[in-house]
C-alpha cells in the first residue's frame, strides 16, 4: 500500500485537484452546451506554446506558458463574441472551427521546427503519472484563485450560464461574465493541459458533471455527486493502472466512460 502512494501519490493528488476544479466548470459547460470548448482552448494554448517555441523559448519555461495563456485568452474573447451573435450560427460550430484552425495552424508552424511534431504531441498528451509536486503546487494556486473568484461572484456566473433571461432582467452584463468565465477556464486549462493532457481534462470536465445531472436535478447535489464520482473514478483508475501496469491517463479516461455507462444503466433499472 505504501508503495502505491509513493508511486501514485502525486498523480492521485493531481487527479483530486483536477476533479475539484473541473467538475464545477463541467456543470456550467454541460448546461451551456459548449462541450468541446476545453479542447479548443487547449489547442489554441498549444498553438501559443508553438509560437513561443519558434521564437526560441523553451517549451517548459515561463515564456511558453505566457504565450499559451495569451492565445487561450484570445480564444476566450472569440467564444464570448460567438455567443452574443447567436441565432443563426450555433456556438459549438465556432468552437469546432477554432479547434480545427488552431490544430492545422500548429502543424504549419511546427513544419519549420526540428522534431517539432514530437514537442507538440507532448503539449497535448500529458503524463499525469510523472507530475511533480511543484506543478501540483502551481495548479493548486491557480485553482484556488479561480475558485475564490467564482465563489464570490457565484450568483452572476450561475445566472449567466443557467438563466440568461433573468441575468439580463437584473442588468448583469452577459458578455462581461461570459468573458470572465471563459478566461478563468482558459487559465485553468492552460495550466493543467501539459500535466494531464486533453483527453483526461475533457473527461474530468464532462463525465462527472453528466453523472451529476443524471442523478439529481438540484445544482448543489449535482456538484456534490460530481465531486464524489470524480474522486472515486480517479482512485479506481489509478488503482487499475497500478495493479495492471496500464498507461495511467488512458486508464482513468476509460474508467470514467465505464462509470458513466454503469450509472446510466443503474438509473434506468431503478427509476424505470
Amino acid at each position: 500500500m505504501s508503495e502505491f502512494f509513493s508511486i501514485m501519490g502525486p498523480a492521485l493528488a493531481a487527479s483530486l485537484l483536477l476533479t475539484a476544479i473541473f467538475v464545477y466548470f463541467g456543470l456550467h459547460i454541460v448546461r451551456r452546451g459548449v462541450i468541446f470548448v476545453d479542447l479548443a482552448l487547449a489547442q489554441v494554448a498549444a498553438m501559443g506554446g508553438t509560437v513561443a517555441f519558434l521564437l526560441g523559448y523553451s517549451l517548459e519555461g515561463q515564456g511558453a506558458y505566457f504565450f499559451s495563456l495569451a492565445f487561450a485568452s484570445f480564444g476566450s474573447v472569440v467564444f464570448t463574441l460567438a455567443r452574443s451573435k447567436e441565432e443563426m450560427v450555433p456556438q459549438e460550430a465556432i468552437i469546432g472551427i477554432v479547434y480545427a484552425f488552431a490544430a492545422a495552424a500548429t502543424v504549419l508552424l511546427v513544419d519549420k521546427a526540428p522534431h517539432g511534431a514530437e514537442h507538440i504531441k507532448y503539449l497535448l498528451v500529458g503524463n499525469i503519472l510523472w507530475v511533480s509536486w511543484n506543478t501540483i503546487g502551481v495548479l493548486f494556486a491557480v485553482s484556488l484563485v479561480v475558485a475564490i473568484f467564482h465563489f464570490f461572484f457565484r450568483r452572476n456566473f450561475f445566472l449567466v450560464s443557467f438563466d440568461t433571461e433573468q441575468a439580463r432582467r437584473e442588468g448583469i452584463s452577459v458578455a462581461l461574465w461570459d468573458l470572465l468565465f471563459y478566461l478563468s477556464l482558459a487559465w485553468v486549462v492552460t495550466t493543467s493541459v501539459q500535466t494531464a493532457g486533453v483527453l483526461l481534462i475533457f473527461s474530468f470536465l464532462i463525465v462527472p458533471a453528466v453523472c451529476g445531472v443524471l442523478l439529481s436535478s438540484r445544482l448543489k447535489m449535482g456538484l456534490l455527486l460530481g465531486w464524489l464520482v470524480g474522486a472515486g473514478v480517479s482512485l479506481a483508475g489509478l488503482s487499475l493502472s497500478y495493479s495492471w501496469d496500464l498507461p495511467t491517463g488512458a486508464a482513468i479516461v476509460c474508467t470514467f466512460g465505464l462509470t458513466l455507462l454503469l450509472i446510466a444503466i443503474l438509473k434506468r433499472l431503478i427509476v424505470g
Binding site: 519549420k112 522534431h115 503519472l129 498507461p247
Partner: protein
C-alpha cells in the same frame, strides 16, 4: 565456548559476504543498452530496459512499472543527445530516487551530424546535439561497453575483475564477428540508397553505404507531396535499388515510394528485441547485415 563461537563466525562470514554482493540493479532506456549491460555485468547485474525493442524510444507512455524500475535502480544508462528528452527527465523526477546514478553513454562517441557553430530554427531538421542513433555501429558498442564497465566497477568494486573479463570477451567476440559482417556487405560498398528517417546514418557510414535522400524530409513530420515527387524522380535518376526503413516505421508510405521509384523496400531491425530472435547486441548486426546482403543483391 569462545572457540566454537569463533568457528561459527568463520563459517557464516562468507554467507554474510555473499549477501552483501546482491546483483546491482540497473535500468536502461533502450533494450540495446540493456543487452550491453547484460553482457558486461553478467550475473552480478540485474538489468531491465524501459522501452521495448518494438517501441520508438523517442516516445514512451507513462506506466507505473517504469517508476518502480527507476525508483529501485542504482544506475541508469541512457542514449542521450535528446533522444529521450520528451519523457526521461519527467520519469526520473517522478521516481524520486536519491541514490540513482545517471550515465549518458554518448560521451566519447564521435557523433554524426553534430552542428558546428550557432544553430537557428531556420536550419530546419538539424538535431541540436547531433544524430542520437549511435548504437547502430558495433565500434560504438565497444566504447559504450567500456563506459558501462567503468560505471559498474565504481559501484561494485569487488566484482571489478569479473566485469573486466566480461568486457574483454564482449570486445573480442564483437571484433571477430564484425569482420564477418563487414565482408558480407563489402560487395555493396558505395551503393546509393534512400532511407525513411535519419536513423540509419551510423550503419551506413560503417558499411560504406551512401544515403542520398530521405522520405521524411523533416523528422517526425509526414513528407509533403512535392518532396515525394522530387524524391521519386531522384530515385529513378540515380537508379536507386533500395529504400531502407526501420521496423518502427509504418510501411504504407515507404512501400508506395519504393514502388514508384523502382526500388525495393528493406526493413531493418534497429533495436535488440525489435524482432524475434534478436536477443543480444551482436544478434542485431547479424540481422542487419544479413538483411542488407540479401536485399541489395
Amino acid at each position: 565456548m569462545k572457540k566454537i563461537l569463533c568457528l561459527l563466525l568463520l563459517f557464516f562470514l562468507p554467507a554474510f559476504g555473499l549477501r552483501a554482493a546482491e546483483p546491482l540493479s540497473v535500468v536502461t532506456t533502450t533494450p540495446d543498452l540493456a543487452a550491453i549491460v547484460k553482457a558486461v555485468g553478467g550475473e552480478q547485474v540485474k538489468v531491465e530496459s524501459i522501452a521495448k525493442g518494438f517501441q520508438d524510444p523517442h516516445y514512451v507512455e507513462a506506466k507505473p512499472s517504469y517508476m518502480r524500475l527507476v525508483n529501485q535502480a542504482r544506475l541508469l544508462f541512457y542514449v542521450g543527445l535528446q533522444l529521450e528528452i520528451g519523457w526521461l527527465p519527467l520519469l526520473v523526477q517522478g521516481a524520486r530516487n536519491p541514490h540513482l546514478t545517471q550515465v549518458e553513454l554518448s560521451q566519447g562517441i564521435s557523433v554524426l551530424e553534430r552542428p558546428t557553430g550557432p544553430i537557428s530554427r531556420a536550419q530546419g531538421d538539424v538535431h541540436p546535439e547531433g544524430n542520437p542513433h549511435y548504437w547502430l555501429d558495433p565500434r560504438n558498442g565497444i566504447l559504450m561497453a567500456r563506459r558501462v564497465a567503468q560505471e559498474l566497477k565504481a559501484l561494485a568494486p569487488t566484482n571489478a575483475n569479473y566485469f573486466d573479463q566480461n568486457l574483454k570477451l564482449f570486445e573480442s567476440d564483437l571484433n571477430r564477428r564484425r569482420q564477418k559482417w563487414e565482408e558480407r556487405v563489402t560487395p555493396f560498398r558505395g551503393t546509393e540508397v534512400v532511407t525513411y528517417h535519419k536513423e540509419l546514418e551510423y550503419i551506413a557510414k560503417w558499411l560504406g553505404i551512401s544515403i542520398i535522400d530521405y522520405v521524411e524530409d523533416k523528422p517526425g513530420i509526414s513528407p509533403s507531396p512535392r518532396h515525394l515527387e522530387n524524391l521519386i524522380q531522384n530515385m529513378r535518376q540515380h537508379k536507386i535499388k533500395a529504400l531502407l526503413v526501420s521496423n518502427f516505421t509504418s510501411p504504407t508510405i515507404p512501400q508506395a515510394v519504393a514502388d514508384k521509384g523502382g526500388a525495393k523496400m528493406i526493413v531493418l531491425p534497429v533495436s535488440v528485441g525489435g524482432e524475434k530472435g534478436i536477443e543480444s547486441y551482436a544478434d542485431l548486426f547479424e540481422a542487419i547485415t544479413g538483411r542488407l546482403a540479401e536485399g541489395l543483391k
